[in-house]
């Protein structure tokens, strides 16, 4: 199986271990991984803040890059960026671009969804010693319906004990520019999540989106917590 990695600008620059981990897991499962260096950003920040022309420009670019790939699937370590690609058709009035957008959406998968639903794999041969808890990133959960898949994968990690957060589905408060436009509200929301994480007595909180991880990690460390924030791919790549 040939997989083209849709790395996401955030993971590429700010949380590369997520992308490196994704490559590792995919290769371990027998996929040949390609990376098109022309990719940059899917346009989500522009779209979410109301700058649609800029978002459209970047979307067209991303669509062309994906179309030029002969890989069997495009896989991303980010639910929100995958969701953005899945929403590309809403950016265009032009029916040709809408069709092209739908075409690339069909080929683009979030990592956990790809592993469980496309490769049919739950045990990726990972081992990680410790208590883990999962944070459901909002776009992955609500736009892509990803709820079960990461939990199945984590439960098969040797040595890991998966603990469920009572507010696993609650937003972490990031919301892109929201986190800096309304930082006090963002952090008030975040603190409820971090309170629950600390009460859960875990070694690490795991999520499928680097944006959530930055938000959660930033507050955990500011609060002097020993809990690590890890991307799903990092856990799955561990041996």
């Amino acid at each position: 199986m040939r997989v083209s990695l849709f790395v996401t600008c955030l993971a590429d620059q700010l949380w590369p271990s997520a992308a490196v981990g994704a490559v590792g897991v995919l290769r371990r499962l027998g996929c040949a991984v390609e990376f098109d260096e022309r990719q940059t950003c899917c346009g989500q920040p522009a779209f979410n803040t109301g700058y649609r022309p800029a978002a459209r420009t970047l979307a067209r670019r991303q669509i062309e890059i994906i179309e030029s790939s002969a890989a069997d699937a495009i896989v991303s370590p980010s639910g929100s960026c995958t969701a953005m690609v899945h929403h590309y058709d809403q950016l265009f009035d032009d029916s040709a671009w809408r069709a092209r957008a739908r075409g690339v959406a069909d080929r683009t998968h979030e990592l956990s969804s790809f592993l469980v639903n496309q490769l049919g794999v739950e045990d990726v041969g990972a081992s990680f010693s410790g208590r883990l808890t999962w944070h459901d990133a909002c776009h992955g959960l609500r736009d892509l319906g990803i709820k079960d898949e990461p939990r199945r994968l984590l439960r098969r990690v040797t040595g890991a004990e998966l603990v469920e957060l009572p507010n696993a589905e609650a937003c972490c408060g990031f919301g892109g520019t929201f986190s800096v436009k309304y930082p006090e509200i963002s952090v008030a929301i975040l603190d409820e999540k971090v309170d629950a994480i600390e009460r859960a007595g875990v070694d690490a909180v795991v999520s499928g989106d680097a944006s959530c991880l930055m938000q959660i990690a930033g507050r955990l460390s500011r609060r002097g917590s020993m809990v690590r924030a890890m991307h799903l791919a990092e856990v799955l790549a561990s041996k």
């Binding site: 790395v7 600008c9 993971a11 590429d12 620059q13 700010l14 949380w15 590369p16 271990s17 490196v20 490559v23 590792g24 290769r27 371990r28 990376f35 260096e37 022309r38 990719q39 940059t40 346009g43 920040p45 522009a46 979410n48 803040t49 109301g50 700058y51 649609r52 800029a54 420009t57 970047l58 670019r61 809403q90 909002c138 609500r142 736009d143 589905e169 937003c171 408060g173 990031f174 919301g175 892109g176 520019t177 929201f178 986190s179 800096v180 436009k181 309304y182 930082p183 006090e184 509200i185 963002s186 952090v187 008030a188 929301i189 975040l190 409820e192 930033g218 507050r219 460390s221 500011r222």
Partner: protein
């Protein structure tokens, strides 16, 4: 900006935050328990949304049918293009009917048009009879939640308020406080000659208006006085009497987790014989006030599907922290963030579409499947296009730079590598005041890819 300031005030109010946390958690749990008693909850949501879509797409026809049937049954139907016209109409009715004691049951539309202030200018003081609204009225405040307007007040505050305004001995027993309000309001009900209510649903097929409640004050407001005035937005109409079933399945469960509220009043015109119980005159005021504009696009038209259940407020992580007052509008929370700019203008409410993390919890719980995040994104694009609100210049510049960089991968990489070498991170005080920033990893993913990761593909990871 007022929103930021009011949000900060709310965040600093520990008692308010505790009350909000308790209320939203409780209503959320009750809602979840209640929807499991409907055999096909998702099917009910779809059916309700389909009915709303059908209605809105032919709204003129259904409104005409409603008005004709209501009038045939003896009601007088009035039309108000805006808030001022609605206030004038209602004020004129009150004066013509010689109203001295006016009672009101809960109606957000009457708050939207600032009816009480308009009536006060005619020396008519309506008494709010819903307990939460009564408390808020006595305190000279505004409601902070659609379903529990006084959620922001403790019983101690209410006791002090009642001691001051009603002359009771302060008590911390909620039943005692409620009984005090009941006793005071019974006096108003006994004398009331005009009752003002809202409308939950207006049935086109029969000209019926439906009002639901738990306390009984709406029934008293609409059955005792000789004149009843009911205010409804144009979007309240539904096509058929039988359609009430699906909405009554969805609304109480979504709002408070009840299967049914204690009372539903289905009122069709006026009494048939003078000796029957009930008002002599029923006046229905149909209000536009900016709603018709929302019909112009599918994404905004769904705003009018809202049945005012309050579920989105209870699900919203932002509302949970800041409550209703910070939104600065009669309509708070997620639905308020999309209704207020559309009803009252983007300039007045430019902050609201951005006061959301776009988590989508609201869309999950909306009984009529309004896609609030899509609406928020639509309004954000409008805010940017219309250049309202402050601080846009810097943001516009930032996004121009961002777009330019992202269209040029080599330039993007060069800038990031530069930042990495010199350990430059934008000093985002708004981030770093409360959160640490991870230092940039020594190599980005693409650098690692090029310097070995790509070729490691043949070896096992």
């Amino acid at each position: 900006m007022t929103f930021e300031r009011d949000a900060r005030t709310a965040l600093a109010d520990g008692q308010l935050r505790g009350a909000l946390r308790q209320a939203t958690t409780l209503f959320g749990e009750r809602r979840r328990a209640a929807l499991s008693t409907v055999p096909d909850w998702e099917g009910a949501r779809d059916r309700a949304r389909a009915i709303k879509d059908e209605t809105l797409e032919h709204l003129d026809r259904y409104l005409e049918q409603f008005a004709a049937n209501a009038e045939r049954a003896g009601a007088r139907v009035h039309w108000a293009r805006d808030a001022a016209e609605a206030c004038d109409l209602i004020g004129a009715i009150a004066e013509r009917r010689g109203a001295r004691t006016v009672v009101k049951s809960k109606s957000m539309a009457t708050e939207e048009i600032h009816l009480n202030a308009a009536l006060a200018r005619r020396h008519i003081e309506p008494v709010e009879t819903d307990l939460g609204e009564y408390i808020v009225q006595l305190a000279g405040e505004t409601p902070s939640h659609i379903v529990v307007p006084a959620i922001h007040k403790t019983k101690a505050q209410i006791a002090a308020l009642f001691a001051d305004k009603l002359g009771i001995v302060p008590s911390d027993d909620v039943a005692t406080l409620t009984a005090a309000a009941r006793a005071a309001l019974r006096g108003s009900f006994a004398e009331a000659d005009l009752g003002i209510s809202g409308v939950n649903f207006a049935v086109a097929e029969t000209g019926t208006i439906l009002i639901l409640e738990n306390e009984g004050n709406a029934r008293l407001t609409t059955s005792l006085p000789r004149t009843h005035v009911a205010l409804m937005g144009i979007e309240k109409v539904i096509p058929r009497f039988a359609d009430l079933d699906v909405f009554l399945q969805l609304l109480p469960r979504s709002g408070t987790g009840q299967v049914l509220t204690a009372y539903q009043s289905l009122l069709t015109g006026t009494k048939r014989r003078p000796e029957d119980e009930g008002p002599e005159e029923l006046h229905i005021v149909v209000l536009d006030n900016g709603r018709s504009r929302m019909l112009a696009a599918a994404v905004t038209r769904q705003s009018l599907a809202c049945i005012r259940c309050g579920a989105c407020l209870n699900a919203c992580p932002v509302y949970r922290q800041i409550g209703g007052h910070a939104y600065g509008s009669v309509y708070p929370g997620p639905i308020g963030a999309v209704l207020s700019p559309q009803l009252f203008g983007l300039a007045r409410s430019a902050a609201l579409p951005y006061a959301s993390s776009l988590c989508g919890a609201c869309r999950d719980v909306c009984p009529v499947k309004i896609d609030i995040p899509a609406l928020l994104l639509h309004l954000r694009a409008e805010v940017v296009d219309s250049r309202v609100g402050k601080g846009r210049l810097r943001e516009r510049l930032a996004f121009s730079i961002y777009a330019a960089l992202m269209a040029r991968p080599r330039l993007f990489e060069w800038v990031m590598r530069f930042a990495r070498r010199l350990r430059i991170m934008p000093r985002l005080g708004a981030w770093t005041k409360w959160r640490d920033l991870r230092p940039l990893a020594p190599q980005s993913f693409r650098e690692q890819w090029r310097t070995g990761l790509r070729d490691a593909g043949d070896a096992d990871a």
